[in-house]
């Protein structure tokens, strides 16, 4: 359950600023490490800034989402949500310059399948990298297996992720049972799903409990559809007396919505510019000689466009 989970204890933060701070620190740590190592060609301008990393992060996150959506057999939503959460948590404490997001992205998906008991063999998994030749898929698999333990370690071995999908189902059931004022909750399902997909691309998972996110999704969709659901919170949840908690709930929902509004897809020219820099950094200072060069190897850009 969420209330005793490691997600609540270790991976739920107070506000967006603390997240920004963590990412900034990860970036600085890498920079300092590289500067201290005294390798040739090292200078501040070569490295990516925190906001540049952010752009690239969003880009690769979108690609991860597309990869999971194009996955055969069809990946359940919780698996997708878990994969994106792993990706997000990993890059909270590590810099994109140190570990290339292209590799980490696939490992997140792979690990998520395992943790969520979505049974895919490794060959089946790399078979989904459709643009690769068989040899390329082999190499990809090797890389995945090489970095898997690193990912688990950076997640601090906290592998269980609570996504908002099951709370959403639970709330729908509850509404159908106890809240007859809303006539057809099923009609909301599509827009709720949509909302939840968009919310996973924001930092909400690291700031709010999944049940609150699900509640926001439902209330938002209801208000969009013009249906009123205000009394649900007051009557059914017993918050009529408890003004304070009610206010806090509204506040949380407002914040989630604002996070969603702030999200925007990264601009292609920015992405390309930063990508060049990233590749340079990995080529020059990358510790792994096994690393691929160039984006086209995994060939996922076709789906992207």
């Amino acid at each position: 359950m969420f209330h005793i989970s490691s997600q609540k204890k270790y991976w739920t933060f107070d506000n967006e600023e603390s997240l920004e701070q963590l990412r900034y620190e990860a970036n600085q740590k890498y920079r300092n490490k590289m500067l201290a190592s005294g390798k040739p060609g090292v200078s501040d301008a070569v490295f990516l800034e925190a906001h540049e990393e952010n752009v690239l992060f969003r880009h690769y996150e979108k690609r991860l989402l597309d990869f999971c959506n194009a996955f055969k057999p069809v990946m359940p939503k919780s698996v997708v949500g878990t994969a994106i959460m792993y990706f997000r948590r990993f890059y909270l404490n590590n810099s994109l310059m140190e570990y290339h997001p292209r590799t980490i992205m696939l490992i997140c998906a792979y690990l998520s399948c395992k943790v969520d008991e979505f049974n895919v063999s490794s060959t089946q998994f790399v078979g989904n990298l459709v643009q690769e030749s068989a040899a390329g898929q082999e190499r990809a698999l090797e890389q995945i297996l090489e970095y898997e333990l690193l990912l688990i370690q950076q997640l601090n071995f906290h592998l269980v992720v609570h996504t908002p999908y099951r709370p959403m189902e639970g709330l729908l059931i509850d509404i159908k049972t106890r809240y007859p004022l809303l006539e057809n909750p099923e009609s909301l399902r599509k827009s709720v799903d949509d909302f939840l997909t968009r919310v996973t691309l924001t930092d909400s998972g690291l700031l709010f409990p999944p049940s609150q996110i699900a509640m926001t999704a439902i209330l938002n969709s209801a208000s969009r559809a013009g249906l009123s659901m205000e009394s649900y919170l007051t009557e059914c949840m017993g918050l009529k007396e408890d003004k304070e908690t009610l206010l806090k709930m509204y506040d949380a929902m407002r914040r989630i919505k604002s996070l969603m509004k702030k999200y925007e897809l990264p601009k292609p020219d920015e992405v390309n510019a930063y990508k060049v820099k990233l590749e340079r950094v990995h080529a020059d200072f990358g510790t792994n000689s096994n690393m691929y060069r160039g984006e086209s190897v995994y060939g996922l850009h076709k789906i992207n466009k």
């Binding site: 359950m1 209330h3 059931i173 509850d174 159908k176 709930m249």
Partner: protein
């Protein structure tokens, strides 16, 4: 073992130890008459002091002709030196013989020594002597050492011999007693059985007689007979239970109080059960059993017969979804 007996990997030879019926072939034939061994599995092998084997018939043959030399190593032998082989490897038998002889002389025991070190050194010397004699190394020197030891420790050897015989006698007495006890018990049970059989036969005979003679209808007679048989059975049962045991099998008589050290009485605070209180940071979740009554189960996919066979019911999924929906809903952070 006779043949390649893969089930009992012990060294002891003997038909009674070998459980497989397939072991007829012997893996070592008699060196002289080889064929006889294969043809006659009941023939025993004898071993002598030089460590070589000969089957019984060959031994007889050898001494009929008067010559007393071993076939393989040509050492002079006496017929009395042949013993029935106990171990598969004749070398082992030879060593056992030598060891017996050595230990007759070197019969000191652990309490004869002042500390462990000396005892171990003594044992090591014994082992060396046995080893030398078995492998025919420095036989003369070893024999001299043995004689010297014998002369020096004559009285100790005598004393220990006497002690040993006494202990053996005691053991044998105990064994004898036990055997006698077993025999008696066996006889008693046999007698009991006999008596019971006789009693049963008598009652049957009595029934037949009565059926012949009496005028009472047959059904009543049969009922009476059955009653009597039942009574007999209960009597027998009671008799069996009446056998009182007065001592435990370890020899301690029953009813004896054994005095032990007094145990200190520990007084500690009594444990009071406190139910666990989980803070879910959300509204209260209805109990699993109440879900049906409250109407939640109408909105969950009903369980198929295949699912229910495994113990699943729709309430479980519903309860979990509700729990997840309510958990953390009023979470103060965020």
């Amino acid at each position: 073992m006779k043949g390649r007996c893969s089930n009992s990997p012990g060294l002891i030879r003997g038909k009674e130890n070998c459980q497989s019926d397939l072991c007829e072939m012997d893996d070592q034939g008699c060196p002289r008459c080889k064929t006889t061994k294969y043809r006659n599995p009941s023939l025993k092998l004898m071993v002598n002091v030089c460590g070589h084997t000969l089957c019984e018939s060959c031994v007889d043959m050898l001494f009929v002709r008067g010559s007393g030399n071993c076939v393989q190593c040509d050492t002079p032998l006496r017929k009395s030196n042949f013993r029935v082989q106990l171990f598969e490897d004749p070398a082992v038998d030879k060593e056992v013989e030598i060891r017996k002889k050595v230990l007759k002389i070197y019969n000191k025991r652990d309490f004869d020594f002042s500390n462990l070190r000396e005892y171990n050194d003594y044992l090591e010397r014994v082992e060396e002597i046995v080893y030398n004699l078995t492998n025919n190394l420095e036989v003369e020197g070893t024999k001299q050492i043995m004689e010297a030891y014998q002369r020096e420790n004559r009285d100790i050897i005598q004393k220990n011999k006497a002690k040993l015989t006494r202990e053996q006698e005691e053991l044998e007495e105990l064994l004898l007693l036990e055997q006698q006890g077993n025999e008696q018990r066996r006889l008693e049970t046999l007698q009991e059985e006999q008596r019971q059989l006789q009693a049963k036969r008598k009652s049957k005979q009595a029934l037949l007689d009565e059926l012949e003679r009496s005028h009472v209808p047959a059904t009543i007679l049969l009922a009476q007979h059955k009653d009597r048989a039942a009574q007999l059975e209960t009597q027998i049962e009671k008799q069996k239970q009446v056998v009182k045991t007065t001592i435990f099998s370890t020899g301690i008589p029953m009813g004896q109080t054994v005095s032990l050290l007094t145990v200190n009485r520990l007084e500690e605070v009594l444990y009071h059960y406190q139910p666990i209180h989980m803070h879910t940071y959300g509204p209260p979740v209805p109990e699993l059993e109440q879900l049906g009554r409250l109407g939640y189960l109408n909105h969950v996919r009903t369980a198929q017969p295949q699912d229910m066979a495994g113990g699943y019911n729709s309430g479980l999924a519903c309860h979990r979804a509700i729990q997840d929906a309510f958990s953390g809903l009023f979470h103060p952070l965020g």
